[in-house]
Subunit: 294 residues, 4 copies
């Protein structure tokens, strides 16, 4: 299959279940909502070495938030509910409550499963309950005024590990395509790219160092293409990037995959787009590129 | 003392020792060096609830980096050497090695104390040693080409908790002044503001909730000024921000305090600038505002 | 009338007819579309001293543009059709065609009145006609590939001079409110703020210097409030900003006024919001604040 | 000659004299200084169709400006002194005085030749003289407080038309290299790139359309490489960008050329870097690439 002159391999991405929480952060303007969201979702690229996976889902206009201020929706993902709650609590407490002019609201009010994020004890008795935009919140006196926050957040069983590979004839082309993909995905509700662009893919374990849990996936490394018998790097490809997508459901990842590949395929210098799987051993979700792009 | 019409209280900031590590991250351009640095220094506002404290020290031009590419210098701080090493390893492995086109270099080559950050095993045998800009590095084949990294980083006993308070007649004035202070401090070598602007100060423990380790510092909360007998909020002040500074030495924090207060004092609507201490019980370093601003 | 605690004066903005042209600029990514749009709409704050008035209307996703790339819609306004055509031709030729990876498309394909923007002669015979996204374009060979452009652009009789004033207790509050207003207006289709924030209002002519066409509107100047008998600056106001809006029709200006005032009123430290008129002598369009905000 | 694996042609750029004026714009923070500078230097890519050439020279820290606030230095260029004065007056009056919190200062106080920029009549008698940072300024009451401005600006006979070409194996590589060059040049004092990246080079006149003053320079157009006998596009090159540099003297252009080519040569996918001249018929200044890069 070809898209804008780029070969799309007949491959599928394999993904697995993961718990997801969506938080709406608002502030006096977009700059400060973004600042809090960035701090709260940092050190969260991959659950392999980070405490969770997190990223910005989308920007929200003042008319789309409970308190009528500009906002940012962020998504947190973790394998277990307990770990997810622990991370949401810590990150809201340390990286949102502490940031200028912020408020937080539940991003999935209709979800049945819920976690408590009880920050109001921080108020040491000066806190009080307050309704904001129809939401039951706590108002906590802090230095810059009052922090407003909901304390019950919906969670859902989402999907982690959606992915596709972008292969280019040089690094700038592949990178500009990966960036275009991420920009396109930022417009798709319900998902985010935690890295957002992955420059180093890994395989489980190691051939040489037995103490390593994960090492470079040599099949996708262009500089050692000649040394790897079963390389997946086509001739003429000098750089490969992977886009990894976590979503609240399968639909969001399908749509993100479609939008991201469309955008990447329009950048000159892209040779091939593919996807990664483990032959069905990793997880129950399969995203076939050719089906998605039909 | 008055500065640009703003009262500067005769107070001092009290700070304590902390181990510091400086890492230079370079990339194909400033955008991607900044992206890696931001991810690597996220979820790192305060050691109370985050695994470490971290932030961007400064941007580096191509002529200031070992490999002649644009870069960002970041600083990591932790109470213990072991914790610091663990965090630098995890954050470089997960948030820099994985990011497009990055390389990392030791930011304190003259420091005697050092930590090892051995990422080259990730290469699974395909890695090799390579000299870049006079530095002994490892080149690790990854998807977007080769990751280049030094693996020994200098650390020094630095200072954490430098601080000052900005009090304004409304939130926008105080926030714009805090932002101006952070911008000015970004030009001072050897330090960074991990938050960077603190909207919620805390005290140790709680008066009401015995299970809380830290709660709101009610003396600095404008909305409950009338309820707190020993409030430190002057009449007419509606918002307070704190700037917290970690530095590699006392000099950098002194200079940052000076530059930050100078900048903040120029913003219309600022009433008072002060500093926070615990009467000398917290740490051995004292930063007297009046001395610094002389 | 009060809105979020801010007094809204019972005033109206007075505006006048102006010809408007809408151009869609696309590029390889948003950064470069924005760069071209910014250059093309610079030196265009006010028709008093600039060749035209121009600004960015909105960002467009790849799915909203004829060629499936990210884009920016810009609006140009001038009193006469001839002047408008001259400016659109010059600005597209010098500031868009010359910019990396750009294409331009008619932003008002349904408009009956049209202007020709014949840039294809620049191709010196190497140009050719090409259909892109259902639009009849010219492809002109240039250094970075091919420039794609439509050459017929719809124009409509729009409205210039919509406005409102934001008065704050200090400069940071008023400025943050003005900025919030402009952000909110950027989400309203069909209009733009050419300045975008006006710091210096003017009156026609001068009381002292007969050779001056326009001079400061002393009634709105806080620093000389005590010297101006008929000052419009309330006590306690230290800074005033004006938001001036040009739109393709009355509806867009009404909606922009509403959204802008809503956003500005939410910023702490704002005292009063009003609007400017010349008693009905300037133009046929009146935008009554109280009606718009009902 | 080769630089980082890129062929540097043994060519020279040819440039010509032009009058230059340097203006320092300060504001409450960098954002608003940049906003004013961007508006004031828009619609100013090329003197062929724009009223002048203009661009941002550099950002200035608070310690580098007369009033101790963050600033931006901008450069204006025109063929004649009268045209230069007219443009500086109009652009400061319409695009700086009108912008929030701005002040302007002479950027070349030691220059002997000077132009007057008398904006103080705008004050209609309320203006007054005021010394700021050792500079004789006028303070003009406006809506957001007082506009502060010097009114005598140094001008010098500078150089326009410094240039080099970047040729890449695809558009993303060439564009990323051009952008890297512009970033590097932004650190060189005394010069600016008005476009800043040129995607469409032109030749004087036309072979086919006698009424055209300038048309595409077909020798540098990759898509018609096969149709142009004396093409300068090497095989395998798909995109060419030109960096055009105006400077206050020859040294600044030499240094900008060196820094820009160094940066561009480090981007993967670049094949050739050259320069443009008219055989010595255009101007007295020659910038030989091989000499500059020695």
């Amino acid at each position: 299959m070809e898209l804008n002159g780029v070969t799309i391999e007949n491959e599928y991405a394999e993904a697995f279940p993961n718990w997801a929480c969506r938080v709406i952060i608002t502030a006096i303007n977009e700059k400060w909502a973004f600042q809090a969201a960035t701090e709260a979702t940092g050190f969260a690229t991959s659950a392999i070495g980070c405490p969770c996976e997190a990223g910005i889902e989308m920007f929200l206009s003042a008319e789309e938030t409970p308190d009528g201020r500009p906002g940012v929706a962020v998504l947190f993902f973790a394998g277990g509910k307990k770990k997810l709650k622990e991370q949401v609590v810590e990150r809201l407490a340390e990286c949102v409550l502490t940031q200028p002019t912020t408020a937080v609201f539940d991003g999935m009010p209709d979800a049945e499963e819920r976690i408590d994020v009880k920050l109001h004890f921080f108020g040491d008795g000066y806190e009080y309950q307050k309704e904001v935009g129809g939401r039951k919140c706590w108002a906590i006196p802090i230095m810059n005024g009052e922090y407003i926050g909901e304390e019950s957040f919906g969670i859902v069983k989402g999907v982690a590990g959606g992915n596709f590979f972008i292969m280019g004839e040089n690094q700038p082309a592949a990178l500009m395509a990966a960036d275009a993909a991420v920009d396109a995905i930022s417009g798709v509700p319900g998902c985010m790219c935690s890295f957002p662009v992955v420059a180093s893919g890994s395989k489980v374990g190691s051939n040489k160092y037995k103490f390593m849990v994960a090492t470079t996936n040599e099949k996708y490394c262009p500089t050692i293409r000649d040394k790897v018998a079963d390389t997946k790097v086509p001739e003429g490809v000098k750089a490969v990037y992977e886009i990894v997508i976590d979503g609240v459901d399968e639909e969001s990842i399908s749509e993100a995959t479609r939008a991201g590949i469309m955008a990447a395929s329009m950048i000159p210098g892209i040779k091939l787009i593919s996807a990664g799987n483990f032959g069905g051993n990793l997880g129950p979700f399969k995203f076939h590129l050719h089906e998605i792009l039909q």
